[in-house]
């Protein structure tokens, strides 16, 4: 089993594990949105499908997931990243205790709010149309008027006229090639398509091919090609058709 090809179907990401890692490393995917437990479950499910325990795969997966978890954990404490790494075990334990305490306080505050909501539940008051949300004032950096004028001038310039050259393409009529192939096949029972086309323009070659298909549809010719891109051979069918008609009518 190849760990990197593990298919994932998470809320925030769908695709192979390999791609997830690439996106995370390129900072194109926010790791805090990724459910790492979901990745583990996907892997374990895949593992359970197999009869033999794939130790190599397990090892590789553990390393990758551990790295992912570390990245995610670091991502959650952006400013303190450097500090934490330098902490002594004692200090780290202290820091962890402080954070746990902080979370515990918020948990209790949430419980207080829940109680409050229950006891104040019968409060009814008029709510008008939603008051306008306070809009954060977004300030732009100081702009140089001359630079703005330059940009406007760029935008105001007339765009170049699009080329219409390709509209003038002239297509020779298909019938011209139909007649040409018919004439050739009257003289020879077999012709080589590529040979006949030598020296023609791309457009002419395309029209010639259309003519070929037209003739084939009418049942006038048979087309053979031994392999893709091999020479196309064209042969007359009327001789055979005449024969078969003769045989059947006899």
């Amino acid at each position: 089993m190849i760990v990197r090809e593990l298919e994932l179907d998470l809320d925030a990401f769908e695709g192979p594990f390999d791609l997830l890692l690439t996106l995370v490393l390129k900072d194109e995917l926010d790791l805090s949105e990724i459910d790492v437990a979901g990745i583990v479950v996907a892997f374990v499910e895949r593992l359970a499908e197999r009869e033999r325990l794939d130790l190599d795969a397990c090892g590789e997966f553990l390393v990758l997931v551990a790295a992912l978890l570390e990245l995610k954990a670091r991502g959650l404490f952006p400013e303190e990243e450097a500090e934490l790494a330098e902490l002594e075990p004692e200090e780290a334990a202290e820091e962890l205790a402080r954070r746990l305490a902080e979370y515990r306080r918020m948990k209790e505050a949430a419980a207080w709010l829940a109680d409050r909501l229950a006891s104040e539940g019968d409060r009814y008051f008029r709510l008008g149309p939603a008051p306008l949300a306070p809009k954060p004032e977004r300030r732009l950096a100081d702009q140089d008027p001359a630079q703005l004028a330059e940009v406007i001038r760029l935008l105001a310039a007339e765009p170049p006229t699009p080329s219409l050259a390709h509209m003038a393409l002239q297509f020779p009529p298909v019938t011209q090639f139909v007649e040409r192939f018919r004439a050739l096949l009257r003289r020879r029972s077999r012709i080589d398509f590529d040979q006949e086309l030598a020296g023609l323009s791309r457009v002419e070659q395309a029209v010639a091919f259309l003519a070929l298909l037209d003739l084939r549809r009418n049942g006038e010719i048979a087309i053979e090609q031994a392999a893709p891109f091999a020479p196309i051979r064209i042969s007359r069918t009327d001789v055979e058709r005449d024969n078969s008609w003769t045989v059947r009518s006899a």
Binding site: E33, A97, L100, W112
Partner: protein
């Protein structure tokens, strides 16, 4: 300076109280004393007097409409005894489906706000984006500009609706964080216990 009007009106605040009453009945959100003073073009101290007069008139047990000091201002609400009847006709504001995670996020925003989403995630230990978005949708919290007015991170803080739903005069009525159960010593002891049990 003589005040002939005083001789005519027995209580000069009466008329002001009626105007304040009118303003409050039109308002959809709590009105601060300063707002009332501006609208009535009167003195904030006299507004306070008028409000206490009205508070006495509109109080639980005496009126179906109750005047309360909430979310840094004054607002009318239904009396508690009418709660059941109100519930049959109206939905409770924002209360439905306030999940555990949403309440924790709300607690953090209420206590630490203005705070950024990474601040919230750091304390919760998980991304808080959807919980924050839910609070914004409910009108309980909103994005606000940072204090210095220069664009940096987007910060969140509670909106007056939060105070109203939870019946708070202001955020200072929340219990002190220090009184809430984060006993660092107990947690530290438990951490050490776990560390000792772990094979080296």
């Amino acid at each position: 300076m003589d005040r002939p009007l005083r001789l005519i009106s027995t209580n000069p605040v009466d008329q002001l109280a009626r105007t304040v009453e009118a303003l409050l009945v039109v308002a959809a959100a709590p009105l601060a004393v300063e707002e009332l003073a501006e609208a009535t073009q009167d003195d904030p101290e006299r507004i306070q007097t008028a409000l206490s007069l009205l508070s006495d008139r509109y109080r639980e047990g005496r009126s179906g409409i109750v005047l309360e000091k909430v979310a840094g201002g004054w607002a009318f609400r239904a009396a508690r005894e009418a709660g059941e009847a109100c519930g049959r006709l109206f939905e409770k504001p924002v209360q439905r489906g306030l999940s555990h995670a949403a309440l924790e996020t709300l607690a953090i925003v209420a206590y630490l706000g203005p705070c950024t989403r990474p601040d919230i995630a750091r304390i919760l230990g998980v991304a808080a984006d959807s919980a924050v978005a839910g609070l914004v949708d409910r009108g309980l919290s909103a994005e606000g500009g940072p204090a210095d007015g220069v664009v940096r991170a987007v910060v969140h803080k509670t909106r007056p609706l939060f105070d109203r739903v939870f019946g708070l005069e202001s955020l200072s009525q929340l219990p002190r964080l220090d009184d809430l159960g984060g006993d660092v010593d107990t947690i530290r002891e438990r951490l050490h216990e776990i560390a000792e049990k772990r094979p080296a």
